[in-house]
Symmetry: C2
Subunit: 307 residues, 2 copies
């Protein structure tokens, strides 16, 4: 095969208690990319629709991730990439990760899958490094593995796929303001109290157990963030109201998606997730904030071919 | 039934990455207790063997835990308790928790089980409060539920039983020095870096996933403690050598049991656990430290009747 078209999922990182280690892939929001083999060495980005992003290979996360893969490959040719962005950059649902993950997945596919998923995560992390100065994996790992994905540690990278209970749905609302990941990291404190740390790891352990047990109530009780949300939520208009209304509407939990400004909720069943979307919508309509809102099942596959 | 004899398991709390939230029950180390109904109101501790501990009800953890249960019960009579200690107080393998858990489990059994396991944990926590000033549950919860047990949070108490992979064995070595839990807590810092927190919760999430997946390697990779072990291990003679030798002997992981001074290792299979016990033994023999050493399968039941 010389060319492939792929769906590159949006992802929610952190998920309240899993700061910097947890993420989940979505099925109803994502970019499309077309990747094709060429005889010319290197990566050429030939077309970008939907967003105004750099075509220059080394300034585009897809280009950088692709070059990282090429560098480890013995393939002598190159690739052309078309990016059709549907995820807005700076939204907090893994826009750069989708491009990086989609690129390396598609290239690996066209080369006959010489690399493992974990190796693809490492290549895609180079795109993340371009986007936010930090080569984090909490968006690219779920974008590639699908479902809920733990990044237990780096050096060496240790990605642990977790189960995704079937009735879980995500609601994501994106207020049209931009917060850069790098800025959003700067406002975090470098120290936390041991007491808050204990609550946070107790909750993350509870969330992981809840995913394995299909225990939606335990998942809900565990979706608490004592460390980051109290600080970052200040940057997001209407956060407290959206959270309160989401929980009143039946969401299991609600928090900041990645470094924001998007807000996510997880719910049991599509109906509740849609009710949560309505409640979120009403809050932003009342205070005149422009927004996008999405309801999505969990994507348990990650990047996937579109035929 | 008017009288019951029970086995009250020793427990390893914290387990490296699960400080204050995780514990596991052992099967080869534990106290025995005899609890019997009497017409006299209240709790009488009639006999203690194996250790010199107070018989006065309100000065003994078993008495205090028992009174907490009686206070919530409509039973008009009382109980007599015999305690046959085999776990040394101050060893760091849940000596007080075994007495507290055994008492309330046996009383509940004789009363026809009016209370849930979670309610029993709350009663037993009153015994822990007497022993160490803090009503923690990370020993009493596994002593009552059995196996690996997560205490996700308090207010309200949220105990989450976790699976116990069948081939896991614990090795525990107890150097004959005493460290009080309360002293051992005082040397901890009240703040940790966010970076260490992230490593810790990544590891705990990995450990929980490893228990569910029967993934012994993942369990091993996750048994790291970046927060407490670097501080507390200074109080324990030979800690670094014991840890190095245990890992060289095939242990999946090794760390401080509870607040010490006991050191635990987890291994896949009894043979490796016994080899680890030998390696630990050699370290203490070489530096002339008195010790007890135990090899134990995981106790998946918790307190249990002895007929």
């Amino acid at each position: 095969m010389e060319e492939i078209r792929v769906f590159c999922p949006a992802t929610i990182a952190n998920l309240s208690c899993g700061f910097d280690v947890l993420g989940v892939a979505l099925d109803a929001v994502g970019d499309e990319m077309i990747v094709r083999k060429t005889d010319t060495k290197g990566i050429q980005i030939t077309k970008i629709t939907g967003q105004d992003l750099p075509l220059a290979t080394e300034k585009n996360v897809a280009g950088v991730a692709g070059l990282a893969l090429l560098d480890k490959s013995d393939y002598k040719g190159g690739f052309e990439i078309e990016i059709h962005k549907k995820i807005k950059p700076g939204s907090g649902i893994g826009s750069s990760a989708a491009s990086s993950a989609g690129t390396v997945w598609a290239m690996n596919y066209l080369l006959g899958k010489p690399f493992s998923l974990s190796e693809l995560v490492e290549f895609a992390m180079q795109g993340e490094k371009l986007a936010s100065d930090v080569a984090h994996a909490d968006n690219v790992a779920p974008a590639l593995f699908g479902g809920f994905t733990l990044v237990r540690g780096y050096n060496p990278l240790d990605v642990v796929p977790l189960p995704s209970p079937k009735e879980l749905y995500a609601t994501v609302i994106h207020p049209q303001i931009e917060i850069k990941t790098s800025d959003s990291r700067k406002i975090l404190k470098t120290n936390i109290t041991l007491q808050k740390g204990i609550k946070q790891w107790g909750n993350l352990a509870g969330l992981v157990a809840g995913l394995f047990k299909n225990d939606y109530d335990l998942i809900g009780r565990s979706l608490e963030d004592h460390v980051v949300e109290p600080i970052r939520s200040i940057l997001i208009p209407g956060f407290d109201d959206i959270k309160t209304r989401s929980l009143e509407s039946g969401a299991l939990g609600c928090g900041i998606s990645g470094s924001g400004p998007s807000i996510f909720a997880l719910s049991k069943g599509k109906n509740i997730a849609q009710r949560v979307a309505q409640a979120m919508t009403q809050v932003y309509e009342a205070i005149d904030v422009e927004f996008d809102v999405h309801v999505s099942p969990i994507n348990t596959i990650g990047v996937k071919p579109l035929f």
